[in-house]
Amino acid sequence: MRSMTGTRRLLKWVGNGLLVVLLVWTLVPFYWMVVTSLKKDKEIYGFEATLVPRQPTLANYVRLFATTPFVKYLRNSTIIAVGTTLFSLVFGCLGAYALARLRFPGRGLIARGLVVTYLVPPSLLFIPLFAVMSTLSLIDTHQGLILAYLGFSVPFATWLLMGYFRSVPIELEEAALVDGCTRFGSLVRVILPMSLPALAVVAFFAFTQSWNEFLYANVFVNSVEVRTITTGLTLFVVEDVFFWGPMMGASFLSALPPLILYLVFQRWVVKGLTLGGVKG
């Protein structure tokens, strides 16, 4: 018995020690990003790793907003991420309802097809999609990029909501139908209000995935008017010279929306991941 508590105590201290190491490993890069953005160029390009800026300055941020199209990038990212989120929610709800509640030939096949679709990575699709987008003149348009993003967000949304809708007690819906609700009415008035956590998870994933996406944004967009933040950031490199101050400032600011959403939705997201991402 004594050896048992001894092991427990040892494990506890090993755990605490490792926790500190993991925290340092996780947070130092992030901290370095923020600190860099607050330094003057002279300090940034010095030979000392100063953990606290000697003369903290917001000059990098001023430069960012005054002399670069950063605000435009932010605007484009917002338009595209919000657009993708709205369409994913609507399409996902409609499709998921059909798969969860209606009986029809091909249901199993479609459900399986959705998962397969979700698992096909963009790096396999961007070359032919580039050809498609060129043919349809969707290169350099917000619509084109939103459309491309629906390719991964709609299957995920439909599949995740399908699982959730099935867990809503069918009796509730039957009652609504008997009381004269249409199928569509029962989806809107019975199922959706009970599925708010799942809708939040879907919205979170659709938004952050489109906000963070890089490959399609890089291939399907060239103009400043449509360019999103992820590809815009890489343009702070001019002929292999990095402007690290403004770039780290821009990085920090653009990481904020997904970070804040993560902090707000944290509990639901983890649940969604385990409910959706890793079932069974």
């Binding site: 506890k12 399409f91 199993g108 679709t117 790096s123 699709l125 050809a131 004269g180 385990t274």
Partner: protein, 320 residues
């Protein structure tokens, strides 16, 4: 009812039909028929998205890989010539080997680190929720930003790593982390691990917390040591989660081109070139769309195996 649902006026008529319970068998088959129509109406947007944005492009990719298509010019069918050229190409063979090393090492490291993190966070401790939030932060940061940030940390002249090591006299010379052939791949993998570990910890932690505490108590009464408890209680309970997470992550790790593209562009001397980046450079750098498609499709056999297993797993609890 399918179409009626969209016409508010007809609502009441639909209600009557549902309420009336006279001739059950015939009505049932009619409802089924209508349900089918409604289902396809509701599924139309989703199906269009899937067919137009995934199925069709995928088939086009296969077809393109059999052509010598360039950007802006139509291609000619050349059979398997692209693939044959690839398998005699030194850069491609190097890339194939790199991709295997990259994926296996990154996934294995994320697994070990993720499990460690989950086990630590599962220990009783004050402020554990706070620590969990902090440790999962990398998961929420866009990969482009992660890669740029690390590129700055690895910077030769003023990067954090070199400055830190020199300040503490751990090295005298500048280390070229990303351009040293011996170090570059390790550095890239470190970044992949930094960004990818939280996904593992999240799913593992959820799995750990779902294990009934009684199991451990019973094992302890039976005299099982902590190590035995881990291997005979924890591991079997988490096996499904382990497999699913590793397979999902393998797909996403092997096909994500952002890390390499931003950190090293495949250099030095192709030491960090992996499939998706080679496909990108071939299609958009060299403008050889057909060849690029061929490169990206080389991963498909592995992908198919993973997808078949995963699809079965991901639909199991709900598909009856």
């Amino acid at each position: 009812m399918a179409i009626r649902a969209q016409q508010p006026v007809a609502d009441r008529a639909g209600a009557v039909a549902v309420g009336a319970t006279g001739v059950l068998p015939r009505r049932r088959s009619r409802t089924l028929h209508q349900e089918g129509r409604l289902a396809y109406v509701l599924l139309t947007p989703t199906l269009l998205v899937v067919l137009f944005l995934v199925t069709y492009p995928f088939c086009t990719a296969v077809y393109m890989s059999l052509q010598n298509k360039m950007v802006g010019s139509p291609g000619r069918y050349i059979g398997l010539a692209n693939y044959l050229e690839l398998f005699h190409d030194e850069v491609f063979l190097r890339t194939a080997w790199n991709s295997v090393v990259y994926t296996v090492v990154a996934v294995a490291t994320k697994f070990v680190l993720g499990l460690t993190m989950a086990l630590i966070l599962d220990q009783p401790r004050r402020f554990n929720n706070f620590f969990r939030t902090l440790l999962f932060v990398p998961w929420a940061v866009p990969v482009v930003i992660v890669s740029l940030n690390w590129r700055w940390i690895f910077d030769d002249l003023s990067g954090f790593l070199n400055n830190f090591l020199i300040t503490f006299h751990l090295t005298h010379d500048i280390i070229s982390w990303l351009s040293d052939p011996a170090l570059a791949m390790g550095c890239v993998i470190a970044v992949v691990v930094w960004a990818g570990t939280p996904l593992y910890s999240m799913t593992f932690l959820a799995g750990l917390q779902a294990i009934p505490k009684e199991l451990y108590e019973a094992a302890e009464i039976d005299g099982a040591s902590v190590v035995q408890q881990f291997f005979y209680v924890t591991v079997p309970r988490l096996r499904t989660i382990f497999l699913t997470t590793v397979m999902l992550s393998t797909i996403w790790t092997a096909t994500n081109l952002q890390f390499v593209l931003i950190l090293t562009k495949g250099g030095p001397a192709n030491r960090t070139e992996i499939f998706p980046d080679l496909a990108y450079m071939t299609a958009l750098g060299a403008r050889r769309l057909g060849m690029g498609a061929a490169v990206s499709l080389v991963f498909v056999p592995v992908l198919v195996v993973l997808i078949v297993i995963l699809t079965r797993r991901m639909l199991r609890p709900t598909d009856d």
